[in-house]
Symmetry: C2
Subunit: 576 residues, 2 copies
Amino acid sequence: MRASRFLFATLRETPNDAEVISHQLMLRAGMIRKLASGLYTWLPMGVRVLNKVEAIIREEMNASGALEVFMPVTQPASLWQESGRYVQYGPELLRIQDRHKNPFVLGPTHEEVITDLARNELKSYKQLPLNFYQIQTKFRDEIRPRFGVMRSREFVMKDAYSFHNDQASLQVTYDLMYQTYSNIFTRLGLDFRPVQADTGSIGGSGSHEFHVLANSGEDDVVFSTESDFAANVEKAEAILVGERAEPTQVLQVIDTPNTKTIEALCELLNIDAKQTLKAVLVQGTVLEEQADEHGNSPLVAVFLRGDHELNEIKAENHPLIASPLTFATEEQLKSVGLPAGSVGPQGLVEKGVTVLVDRAASVLSDFVTGANIADQHVQGANWERDATYSEVADLRNVVDGDPSPDGKGILQIRRGIEVGHIFQLGQKYSEALGCKVLGEDGKPQTVTMGCYGIGVTRVVAAAIEQNHDEKGIIWPKALAPFDIAIVPMNAHKSPRTVEAAESLYQELQALGFDVLLDDRNERPGVKFSDLELTGIPHRIVIGEKGLDAGTFEYKGRRDSESQDLSKEALLTLLKA
Amino acid sequence: MRASRFLFATLRETPNDAEVISHQLMLRAGMIRKLASGLYTWLPMGVRVLNKVEAIIREEMNASGALEVFMPVTQPASLWQESGRYVQYGPELLRIQDRHKNPFVLGPTHEEVITDLARNELKSYKQLPLNFYQIQTKFRDEIRPRFGVMRSREFVMKDAYSFHNDQASLQVTYDLMYQTYSNIFTRLGLDFRPVQADTGSIGGSGSHEFHVLANSGEDDVVFSTESDFAANVEKAEAILVGERAEPTQVLQVIDTPNTKTIEALCELLNIDAKQTLKAVLVQGTVLEEQADEHGNSPLVAVFLRGDHELNEIKAENHPLIASPLTFATEEQLKSVGLPAGSVGPQGLVEKGVTVLVDRAASVLSDFVTGANIADQHVQGANWERDATYSEVADLRNVVDGDPSPDGKGILQIRRGIEVGHIFQLGQKYSEALGCKVLGEDGKPQTVTMGCYGIGVTRVVAAAIEQNHDEKGIIWPKALAPFDIAIVPMNAHKSPRTVEAAESLYQELQALGFDVLLDDRNERPGVKFSDLELTGIPHRIVIGEKGLDAGTFEYKGRRDSESQDLSKEALLTLLKA
């Protein structure tokens, strides 16, 4: 490609409305432009990358035996009514009407459509397993689209749906998809982690998210230093370590005026947060016999070590805590005489409050906690002697340095961007839509399903979040819009430079490289900045001096200095 | 691909609601399934074909220097308001609202979005020409979607938009696109014709449609036997041939009871329709001084030779005829005393009716026409002597055998399916949206545009309309979902056959062929029917007998008989 015939839409300034680095760099490198909130046009520089991502995904999905299909963006509302998601999905599902006032939706995902297809087309257990995929435009009406194509309303997704006679067959395909996703992200040249994920309200028995590691990631992912354990922070179990020591101090009430946070408390008393116990008060599950005359739900006090955070998913999944998780009101606290900011476990169970203690908090002794009197705390508190509890449970987020739940190594936490998700759906959709095949026994049996998604457009943004420096994007080899850029110096007054550049351009293209010949009428500095900004891996400068010496000035995108190479050395390096 | 792991969704019966052969065969071959009116899911068999069409289009567009972009399906209504098409486009433009009640449309085409992009990104005449294309999902809310993917609501289109400093530059790109389209349809293996097309109300100076020839086509395309003249029938000029002979008969009124059609008239009088003159009565252009007190438009009588058809586009474009074309009401006929079915030109001009005569009708003499009295006609009528007219014009459709308007050869008419359209837009959109670049003189100048579309999904249907027989589809080589099918006979009791089939399967795949190994547990007859229905070009049957003799049973999709070939001969044939 000749740069003069290409749309080189680079920007010098960082656009105001771009918060994250990938969004900034995609705009600045001329990869995307905003059409409207959450809607982006991909410019030629962006499409070249997007097409490379799609090609790798398609190749690996085909290699896995998945069959490509292509479903409409527009879907009849009736299918969503059948699955129950027409209401459930909420306002992210854009509901529309055609000219005849028939209701449709813009598809945010395709479980309903593929299950409808399967119930019509699949007749016998002999046809299964089958795994269908597509690479296709989706629409989710995000309330606040942001971060460019990272969280846009229209986006490209690779979604796949598999159909099985039983759970064992699903597990085989699930494992194959796990491997296929690992192959895809490896070929894309990304540092990623597959992590166990919460299956949430969708149910089903297994789920992994694939995260691209990047400091700017929205999610915390957790993995072991010594084993292949890896999980979403929501899902990682915090195991019990150590035993509770015997009390050595007496319980003592201390004045702690204006001390509403653990941080303030530690500073005041000059202690470590690990020696404190904090309370989070939430609504409990409403059991009929427990509801008071106002129908209020019972109060649950969750106690955590001061340096730990409540894991809301774990809390929500606890049978005694209401789901969705709802914090207690001040009124509720008052009704049992508890002052916000100074709650301790002493006497709570006796007041009818359910006391749940996180594992790590349950082995504290001689701890500092609230005195249940405003502006007062207690020190030297000990379980059993001073306070009792209803139950010990895993209720906190794991932290760096926690032991891995598989007993091997310790946990590390990194930020990740979710780019893929594989999920054992079980029979949720096949039951709702009545998708059955004749079993070996001649009787109709409901099929078992899995689903597997990759955010194709998001992968591009995630790759940039992971690979950039202050000058711009640093593309992994497989994703670069061009492999090599050739810059002829002083082209307007050196025909020999132009000739040499042209000849190298032809030669490298013939070797199968995507080459950009930067023949723009711009200063070298502008070209160099643009090439660094757009992240092209290899830059070759051709000038009179080098031609005299028989060398080319080569600089890799990550290199700090250029080097003069003979043509042979240059070709060896590029082919490597 | 192993057929047992593929979705072979063939149907024995022709579905009731499929009117045209391509729709029937795409359903029967398991290529598509209907999701809702005008919405189709492409099954694996269909996607394989669709991907091949897309790949060829992408390669040729890239080779032409066009730059690939990717624009959203969802477009802000504001852009359509700017261009004026938000109202103009009519109900095929699906107008929707997002969750914040902001108005959007589902894009039926992308002139507005690309022009908006261009006005923001293009700064200088030096950047032009540029040609952007995408392969993308479109939505047109057809009032009566039909013929499967031939006229569906959601469809895939390759649309391209070029930007230029002047008409000369547009012409260069237009010619390049003409050539590119010719390359694409040639590579797809289709018998097609590029034809001149009417530019209609969009204006602009040039337009060609690309038609795939097929008897079932919706359009008539016209081309010369001796030159490269080719046009849409709406556009082809019918030139004047011959001169009017002197009258030889006297004008005579004859009784023609119940004779309302030319056919009936010819039968009654035992004459040729070429000797008759028929009238079509339409509304004229309303000029203020002509409108009567009721605001009625003037009456225009168009006279054509009895065997010719009115060309409505030509009529509409005539300055004296109202646009859109509107037929006269019976009341209007009565008001000037004309009986429907027996109108002749005698005395009409004198009554204030505008009389337009088609060129061919203007050279008739001694003709039969209406007597302007119910159930009566006249014979031996002659222009000038018996009737006068306002104007002679080209108002009819050309017919087979007419002389070519370029003076070379005669015209042939064939049915065609429009699969591509190239169009010189001029400044329609760039003016409406204010898309300007700085010219060589430093002043802003409005850019000139072209647009170029291919109906990607429609191409697949058109290919089938052109290439099929009573057994099913006959794919052109470039489009076949699989190049070769291998059928092992009696696989369940012949391990040697299975082995040979497997080995040939591997070998042919290694040679780069798309091979289907039909390992399904079905009778040979079922497999053979399926392979013929799905149109796979080459079939190789492997059985014990052939293995003994060292031959393979080969049958091409168009062959009536199979032949036994040595492996060498087989490979030579397949590679040819």
